[in-house]
């Protein structure tokens, strides 16, 4: 006799998702799937479109991280048209990008993921939301979160035209620079941002790290996977969101690969399962061995924790201090605890704010030299950024007139898909025993993947067509044992 527990919808998740947990006759977990029912068909849609439209089209994959798609797309166009932007344009892009990262991370820390820790993993469901967070941290802080986001978004709108769909990045530069009289406001907001990020670290320490139960939860085997980690690094192997090389470290922390995004196909392949539309990227040179961790399995992880693990530090002072404290407290590098993503995200908030401030103060940032024009015939362009949720790759191929013939996007949630599936199953197995569970336990299973901040609106864009309204769940032998409608 088989029992099924369904957690649906997953609360506070960007996009759609469903978890299916199958219990055996003793009430223990036999298998847990994290199903992504949404299908987007984006690559098919963009075929035949002019390549220069891609930075405007791709942010519309979803309303969650448009700036990441805009920037990856813009960089793919630089590569497509073989044009290097002038230094001021690169700095402007990086500044806007760090503003976005700060704002997006803040949203997750306080609103999407924060409730699990700030309010508490075992608190009642109706209390585990942003209102619960406000209750816990106080009204003033709540106001600070809202106003900080708003101020950053206003400046992003000033610079890039729109927050959600910037019309700004072009091959070889940007369409609008920063005026000297505007800079003052950027510096002011950046300074507030640094203060806000440092304050967030304090909140995290006071509420999360001072609570023994939470720290044990972070370190528990339930939320631990020893996988490879991937992230962009600068020339000094420090975390960089906007540019650099892709670095991969193995589960023991040794550098496994350091490569330019143009060579990503030599390093990354994709595995397909019949129970989900999401593809599972893995390290080609290690191979796909299934949903298992360890050095012999090609499963890797992206997102804040992976970025910290894959780097040798942060490029700004306060973030570096927080980085050192992170590894000192957890006592090991790499850190394999999924829930440490939340802490890593706060450290990245500090870096994003400090980098925003550095760039806002940079004398070159108000230069008029913001674009180089290409004279090359396009063929292939590949761009990469670190989206809040991890490494994001845009790969375009065009005819000689610049019309898209092929597009491939590897989005952050895809990069994490295998590890998310593993986390969900492991959490389910660790937390449901002999048929006993309560709402708090089920939330803790959700916590396993919420830590990755997955976004499925763009995670399943790689096949053409409609949303499937029926999902087949199969047993180990491939037999369908259940059919699920998603409405």
């Amino acid at each position: 006799m088989e029992h099924r527990i369904t957690i649906d919808p997953i609360t506070r998740l960007e996009g759609h998702g469903k978890i299916e947990i199958f219990l055996d006759e003793n009430g223990n977990v036999e298998k847990a799937y994290f199903v992504v029912p949404e299908l987007r068909g984006f690559e098919i849609f963009v075929k035949g479109k002019p390549a220069e439209d891609m930075p405007i089209i791709t942010p519309r994959i979803c309303g969650v991280c448009p700036t990441a798609h805009h920037m990856a797309s813009t960089k793919a166009l630089d590569d497509l048209y073989k044009v290097e932007p002038p230094s001021p344009a690169k700095k402007l892009r990086e500044m806007l990008y760090n503003m976005f990262m700060l704002e997006d991370h803040a949203l997750h820390v306080y609103i999407l993921g924060g409730p699990d820790f700030i309010v508490g993993p075992k608190a009642k469901k109706e209390e585990r939301n942003v209102l619960g967070v406000i209750q816990k941290v106080g009204l003033e802080i709540g106001k600070k979160v809202i106003s900080m986001r708003r101020e950053i978004r206003e400046l992003m709108t000033l610079l890039a035209g729109k927050v959600i769909h910037p019309a700004w990045g072009v091959p070889g530069g940007v369409t609008r620079g920063l005026k000297e009289e505007e800079r003052k406001n950027f510096v002011k907001v950046a300074e507030k941002g640094v203060e806000f990020a440092l304050f967030t670290l304090k909140v995290f320490k006071d509420i999360v790290l001072s609570n023994k139960e939470y720290v044990e939860l972070i370190k528990s085997d339930t939320y631990t996977h020893k996988t490879y980690y991937m992230g962009l690094v600068d020339n000094n192997k420090k975390v960089n969101f906007y540019d650099g090389k892709i670095r991969v470290i193995d589960p023991e922390g040794k550098e496994f690969a350091l490569f330019d995004v143009r060579d990503y196909k030599d390093h990354i392949a994709e595995h397909v399962e019949n129970w989900t539309y999401i593809k599972f990227p893995f390290l080609k040179k290690v191979g796909w061995k299934g949903f298992i961790d360890g050095k012999d399995s090609g499963v890797y992880s992206v997102a804040p924790l992976a970025r910290l693990n894959a780097s040798e530090g942060m490029a700004t002072p306060k973030a570096q201090e927080a980085y050192e404290e992170f590894y000192k407290t957890l006592g090991v590098k790499p850190v394999h605890h999924t829930l440490a993503n939340h802490w890593a995200r706060v450290i990245e908030m500090i870096y994003a704010a400090e980098r925003f401030l550095e760039l806002a103060k940079d004398p070159e940032i108000t230069s008029d030299n913001i674009r180089n024009i290409s004279k090359e015939i396009p063929s292939v362009g590949i761009g990469v950024v670190e989206a809040p949720r991890g490494t994001l790759i845009h790969h375009y191929e065009t005819d000689e007139k610049g019309f898209i013939t092929k597009a491939n996007l590897i989005v952050a949630t895809q990069n994490n898909a295998a590890r998310i599936a593993m986390s969900v199953e492991k959490a389910a197995k660790g937390l449901i025993k002999n048929g006993k569970y309560d709402e708090g336990i089920l939330n803790m299973i959700e916590m396993a993947f919420r830590a990755y901040d997955p976004c499925h609106a763009c995670g399943t864009h790689s096949l053409p067509g409609n949303i499937p309204l029926l999902i087949n769940i199969r047993d180990k032998r491939g037999n369908i044992i259940d059919k699920i409608k998603n409405f």
């Binding site: 919808p9 996009g15 949404e38 299908l39 987007r40 068909g41 984006f42 098919i44 849609f45 405007i56 089209i57 519309r60 309303g63 949203l107 609103i111 939301n129 942003v130 209102l131 406000i134 009204l139 709540g142 106001k143 809202i146 986001r149 708003r150 978004r153 709108t157 729109k162 927050v163 959600i164 769909h165 609106a457 864009h461 067509g465 409609n466 949303i467 309204l469 409405f487």
Partner: protein, 165 residues
């Protein structure tokens, strides 16, 4: 591509807002944005008409300055009731679970605003248009929904006029 209006200067802002939500490259999901284009001609002297593809907490920035707001979005019921109009008030969100990406967080936004004493419309009218396919990536509405647009506009125009009285 539909140009979005923003009203940055307070003195130009009206008391009421008509906010169209959706994604115009996701088939019928764009209905809220298409409709605001028609409604602009009818309500330009009474309300600010804005379209956005944003969702969640970001909607607070749009809604905050207004006394009353109308939100128009697609709704996918799974029934064959394309073009049917569903009306919701803020209180409905406590009891109804609505399948729309864009509503995620709307009741929370309202509560956050109240809790943090951020200005927020005293009254919301949420108009859900039942659609056939809000998931296929295509830049136009389905034929079945297109046919219904004149009828939908007539109905929602009356609803909005009554609400904004």
């Amino acid at each position: 591509m539909i140009r979005l209006k923003t009203f940055e200067k307070k003195d130009l802002r009206k008391k009421y807002l008509i906010l169209g939500l959706g994604n115009t490259i996701r088939g019928d999901d764009g209905i809220g944005i298409y409709l605001t284009k028609f409604l602009e001609k009818k309500f330009f002297n009474l309300a600010d008409i804005i379209s956005t593809e944003e969702m969640g907490l970001s909607l607070l920035d749009f809604l905050s300055p207004y006394e009353k707001a109308v939100i128009i979005d697609s709704i996918f019921t799974g029934k064959k009731d394309i073009g049917e109009i569903y009306i919701f008030k803020e209180k409905d969100f406590d009891s109804k679970q609505i399948k729309s990406n864009h509503y995620i967080g709307l009741p929370e936004i309202s509560k956050i605003a109240k809790k943090l004493k951020i200005p927020f419309p005293k009254e919301l009218l949420i108009i859900g248009i039942s659609v056939e396919d809000p998931y296929t990536i295509k830049p136009e509405l389905s034929e079945n929904l297109k046919e219904k647009i004149p009828e939908i506009i007539t109905k929602i125009e009356k609803l909005i006029r009554d609400f904004l009285k």
